[in-house]
């Protein structure tokens, strides 16, 4: 199992996580994914990468560091993103009742182990 697969495995084991992806933030493309049926990984990758990139620009413009973790909460669930090394971002799509705290810990730890 590759480091990317291990990272995805850890995140998807958290209750309420519907899927996770490793994406390239510069390209907005999927590097690896583990998703439930019905989730469009390509769309999640493109839009999450755009979100992370724009937040990075916004915080940079405000003289702050790029966010290491992003939590976008909606009525039907949330999108979580943890920035790793280079341009990799670990993204999770979670249900409204998911254990977001545990997902956050697993994601930050998992991206830290990615080469």
């Amino acid at each position: 199992m590759t480091a990317a697969d291990e990272a995805l495995e850890r995140v998807t084991q958290v209750p309420g996580v519907r899927g996770s992806l490793l994406i390239s933030v510069d390209d907005g493309l999927v590097v690896a994914e583990r998703l439930m049926e019905g989730i469009d990984g390509r769309a999640v990758a493109a839009l999450a990468a755009s979100l992370v990139q724009r937040l990075g620009r916004a915080t940079g413009g405000a003289g702050l560091q790029s966010p290491k973790f992003v939590h976008l909460r909606g009525n039907a669930g949330s999108v979580l993103a943890a920035r790793g090394r280079d341009d990799l971002v670990l993204v999770a799509v979670v249900d409204p009742d998911a254990n977001v705290g545990r997902a956050r810990i697993e994601m930050l730890d998992a991206v830290g182990h990615l080469a």
Partner: protein, 153 residues
């Protein structure tokens, strides 16, 4: 933005807004321009459409030789701007999209909204038969008319 057929305008405008693409050219597989956004000179459009059609023809032939189905898209990544070429089917025949984009967007976003534009174009295309092919004797006049419509002069 300029388009030869009005039903192309709305899907194309949505794509430009959503993707933040700098330039886009829609053409037939023979290189005839259908719509364009961002080009300022007709010569650039004619050159880009001819080259785009040739690249798609080359990659499709390459795919055939390799025994693969058609390639979905060709992306040329550059340091300042990138270019995506993709062919797709419409009720009006097979068309090609050439998109030039910069670092303000990404290839993932461009591909995502390009596919949505193709769906909208297929849905918006009139069901009647396309116009007959241009005759040799009026080709130059038709080409001139098309370029005037595409550049508004």
């Amino acid at each position: 933005m300029r388009a030869l057929e009005p039903w192309v305008v709305a899907p194309l405008q949505t794509f430009i807004t959503e993707s933040s693409a700098r330039l886009i050219l829609l053409m037939t597989t023979s290189g005839q321009v259908v719509a364009q956004h961002g080009f300022s000179r007709s010569l650039d459009v004619m050159t880009a459409s001819a080259l785009g059609a040739a690249i798609v023809a080359s990659t499709e032939e390459l795919a055939r030789i390799m025994g693969a189905s058609r390639f979905g898209a060709v992306v040329h990544g550059g340091s300042r701007q990138s270019c995506m070429l993709a062919a797709f089917g419409t009720p009006r025949g097979r068309w090609i999209g050439l998109v030039v984009f910069g670092s303000e967007t990404s290839v993932g976003i461009v591909q995502l909204f390009f596919d949505k534009m193709v769906e909208e174009l297929v849905g918006a295309a009139p069901k009647e038969q396309p116009p007959p092919p241009l005759l040799a004797e009026n080709f130059e006049r038709e080409l001139d008319t098309s370029l005037k419509e595409l550049f508004g002069r």
